[in-house]
């Protein structure tokens, strides 16, 4: 047993209202730059729909992920190492910009600079790729809310896999939203496809990252990822992907997409898994067995043997405790309501989904029956093959049984909790029908419906103890990050050559302190803050600039005091 820890996410699709707040805030935080205008590390797709990039799930075309060869061994679907190197000069399976969409801006300048004229000036769309005028005809969520259906939703890859009858019915009847980020897979095919070895999985928390200094732009990762969640920055010539907001997660705060989620449908926590079993599980012969196989890879963090093995593997004690409290573990393995997205790609994805019960509930309610009654709901789940088959294609490689079981559990919780909420005697027969106890059912309800910030996001901070550095104080260069050429702007070899600015973890610590402070309206460093609204514009407002330093070099008393706060950071800067 080789225990490793994985930072994972579960999204409860019943709660997603498709507001795209996660996408927008993620975009603002990470991809609001030139070269990645078309890139959405987080995107929300309407189902049925084609997704982003268009029809990315069609692996007969894109050849993403892994497949079993004739000997039953796992191999990259797009071809092995030699084949990759032979096609390195022109990747035959790379989505073009049209498969994503051509990003654009508007010619806002015209609005303010146009001369007086009879007609209102118009801000025309301009392509961000070529700079030319363009006609907008597609985007990352063009078919949002089934816009353009039936013409567009017909081309949903998953719909093509379910039967003809279902196809017609589905788009008339059901719709739900699927937010997607990088899956941070246990068996990432993007990393396996990278010729340079620039994509790596972090040993501590399993986050899959692209080393920007080692990426040479061979573009094989874009093909390798079946979820098409690795993107090519066309300005820097490097691959970029969702980072699971690692600078935030390292200090213990959730990803931007989770933090800003209006429906509070995202859960973040640790999973402990046995790294030795990953390959075997990913090679499961029957695709329909992959969901169960992946569940078997996860370890029970309460098992004393696992705890001991985790300790031996160097996983810190507080991380093991966080794994025990992990909401993700509870949803995947305790309540078994979360399912992986497209396990048939054999990458062992680690962002799981609670399938939506709402299509079923809606149908029952529309027919005038009691949509909270477990009997009605159970019957509907069995009768309504349409949503179940579709969800099964998404989450269990087409096996309806696990989807049905999840929906039954959610339906049972619904009717069990109604009795409690109405003050009636709870019917213990309902949880028994789905192999749960009443207490378990209530706990699941708490986690799904009531869980507060601290319960939804159980994120142990990264360990940054410096003991080792103190042992060998003279061996490391203290100027590691300073004065490198190109730090002041772009180097001579194209955009942003010369090195990316290092991430300042101090900012994220400050962010966390601000967010978790007891009194946001009365910060401790109030005396050092400036309210520019009170400033009449004359003179220098007190505190806007750091105190002038005396020639003797004695520290200003003011700066010494608020050393932990934000104010002194500015004044320290020039002295570094």
């Amino acid at each position: 047993m080789r225990v490793m820890a994985q930072m994972a996410m579960v999204m409860n699709l019943d709660k997603c209202i498709g507001c795209h707040t996660c996408s927008v805030t993620c975009k603002q935080a990470w991809t609001n730059r030139s070269g990645v205008e078309y890139v959405w590390f987080n995107n929300v797709e309407t189902r049925p729909g084609q997704g982003y990039p268009r029809r990315y799930e069609d692996q007969d075309k894109w050849r993403g992920g892994w497949t079993l060869n004739r000997r039953g061994r796992l191999e990259l679907k797009a071809g092995g190492r030699l084949r990759k190197l032979m096609t390195i000069f022109a990747n035959p399976k790379l989505p073009s910009i049209d498969d994503y969409y051509e990003p654009w801006t508007y010619d806002y300048d015209t609005l303010t600079n146009a001369p007086l004229q009879e007609h209102t000036p118009v801000a025309r769309p301009k392509s961000l790729i070529s700079g030319e005028d363009m006609k907008i005809s597609w985007s990352a969520n063009w078919d949002d809310d089934l816009g353009g259906s039936p013409g567009l939703a017909d081309r949903d890859v998953v719909l093509g896999q379910v039967s003809e009858k279902v196809k017609l019915e589905f788009e008339k009847t059901f719709m739900f939203y699927l937010p997607r980020i990088c899956e941070h897979c246990l068996n990432p095919s993007c990393a396996a496809s990278c010729p340079s070895g620039a994509i790596y999985k972090r040993a501590e928390d399993g986050i899959v990252l692209v080393d920007q200094d080692r990426c040479r732009g061979w573009r094989m990762c874009v093909t390798g990822c079946p979820y098409k969640k690795v993107y090519f920055n066309h300005r820097t010539g490097k691959a970029e992907k969702c980072t699971f907001c690692f600078p935030r997660v390292e200090v213990g705060i959730p990803t931007v997409c989770s933090e800003t989620c209006v429906g509070r449908l995202r859960y973040i926590g640790l999973m402990l898994y046995d790294a030795d079993k990953v390959l075997e599980a990913a090679s499961t012969p029957d695709e329909k067995g992959l969901y169960e196989a992946q569940r078997q890879v996860f370890l029970d963090p309460h098992d004393p043997e696992v705890v001991a093995a985790a300790g031996r593997a160097g996983i810190p004690r507080d991380w093991i405790e966080a794994a025990q409290r992990s909401p993700v573990h509870a949803l995947i393995n305790t309540y078994r309501v979360a399912l992986p997205l497209h396990p048939e790609y054999r990458t062992m994805p680690m962002v799981w989904y609670i399938p939506p019960l709402s299509p079923v509930v809606d149908v029952v309610r529309d027919t005038g029956h009691d949509a909270e009654d477990s009997g009605n709901l159970f019957a509907a789940i069995e009768a309504l093959r349409i949503p179940v088959d579709y969800l099964a294609q998404l989450f269990t490689a087409g096996d309806p049984a696990p989807v049905e079981a999840v929906l039954r559990r959610l339906a049972a919780m619904r009717s069990y909790m109604r009795d409690i909420n109405l003050g009636r005697e709870p019917d213990e027969g309902i949880p028994a029908k789905v192999d749960m106890t009443g207490e378990q059912m209530y706990d699941m309800y708490r986690l799904l419906a009531l869980a507060k910030y601290d319960e939804r996001y159980v994120i142990p901070p990264a360990h940054t103890e410096q003991a080792h550095r103190l042992e060998e104080i003279a061996t490391e260069c203290s100027l590691n990050y300073e004065g490198g050429p190109g730090m002041g702007g772009w180097g001579p070899f194209g955009e942003t050559s010369g090195g990316a600015a290092p991430i300042a973890v101090e900012n994220f610590h400050m962010l966390r302190q601000r967010q978790t402070a007891d009194s946001p309206v009365d910060p401790a460093d109030k005396h050092a803050r400036v309210n520019l609204l009170n400033w009449d514009g004359k003179g220098r407002p007190a505190g806007l600039f750091p105190p002038r330093r005396e020639a003797s070099g004695t520290a200003a008393p003011d700066a010494e005091e608020s050393a932990d706060g934000t104010a002194t950071t500015v004044s320290e800067e020039p002295k570094r």
Partner: protein
């Protein structure tokens, strides 16, 4: 062997028979090129890892690229192998294993011409694409344009030297002149006399190649040096530990003064 010995061994011969220009072109320039090439790459690798990329434009356009790029790259790899065979391996060695001069020449010229034309055709397609496809052209820097110009010059000169020599005089045996000179540079006993009577096209090709190697480390051509051959042997999934230092600066040691 140090720089001093190089100078001392070269200086007398240069004084006696080779002109100053010859020494500059065939002794000084090659060493300057080697120095720029090696040190340039070291410098670039240390300070511009982030800019070290192929800067692929496949996202913008792939129809022309799918023909042009493999044609050019496989062509230039063949050309490279041909140059290694012609310049590095002495003719004595090939004769020792029973390949006659004539057989070598025929193979080299035919294969080399085919590879050269493939390369040139690929390059033509790529340059046409770069100029005509809007997004690709706007992603082209001045650095790229210079590199394309020099690269094209080198290839055209090399190809025309081969073709011209074979059309006019039944071939030129560069393995008696250019190749020994090339090797002499690396033996640190450069002999400019060997290049004195070489046809002008070969001379120009060699000089343009030196120029290309001089600008090489400062262009996108650096991606060649990181050709991912290691991919064939490394494990599929790479695990790495988080950087130890999260912060932009090392934490102060306990006894250090807090900067005021």
């Amino acid at each position: 062997m140090t720089g001093g010995t190089v100078l001392s061994t070269v200086a007398p011969s240069a004084d006696t028979s080779a002109g100053v220009v010859d020494v500059l072109l065939w002794v000084v320039l090659p060493y300057v090129t080697v120095a720029v090439f090696v040190l340039g790459h070291i410098w670039r690798y240390r300070y511009d890892k982030f800019g070290w990329t192929t800067r692929s434009s496949q996202l913008y356009e792939s129809r022309l690229l799918r023909i042009g790029s493999p044609l050019f790259h496989f062509g230039i790899l063949l050309v490279l192998m041909g140059h290694v065979g012609g310049l590095v391996i002495p003719d004595r060695w090939t004769e020792a294993i029973g390949i006659s001069e004539h057989a070598y020449h025929v193979t080299a010229v035919s294969l080399g011409t085919v590879a050269g034309f493939c390369t040139l055709a690929g390059l033509a397609i790529l340059i046409y694409r770069r100029r005509t496809v809007g997004p690709v052209f706007s992603a082209t820097t001045r650095n790229d344009k210079l590199m394309y110009a020099v690269l094209t010059l080198v290839i055209v000169l090399g190809l025309s030297a081969t073709v011209a020599a074979n059309l006019v005089g039944g071939g030129y045996n560069y393995r008696e002149t250019v190749s020994p000179w090339f090797r002499s540079v690396f033996y640190l006993q450069p002999d400019p006399h060997l290049m004195a009577d070489v046809p002008i096209l070969f001379k120009l090709h060699a000089l343009s190649a030196l120029l290309l190697f001089c600008i090489w480390p400062f262009t996108r051509l650096v991606h060649m040096l990181t050709a991912p051959v290691g991919y064939l042997t490394r494990p599929y999934i790479v695990y790495r530990s988080r950087d130890e230092l999260l912060s932009t600066r090392a934490p102060r040691r306990g006894w250090e003064h807090r900067p005021g």
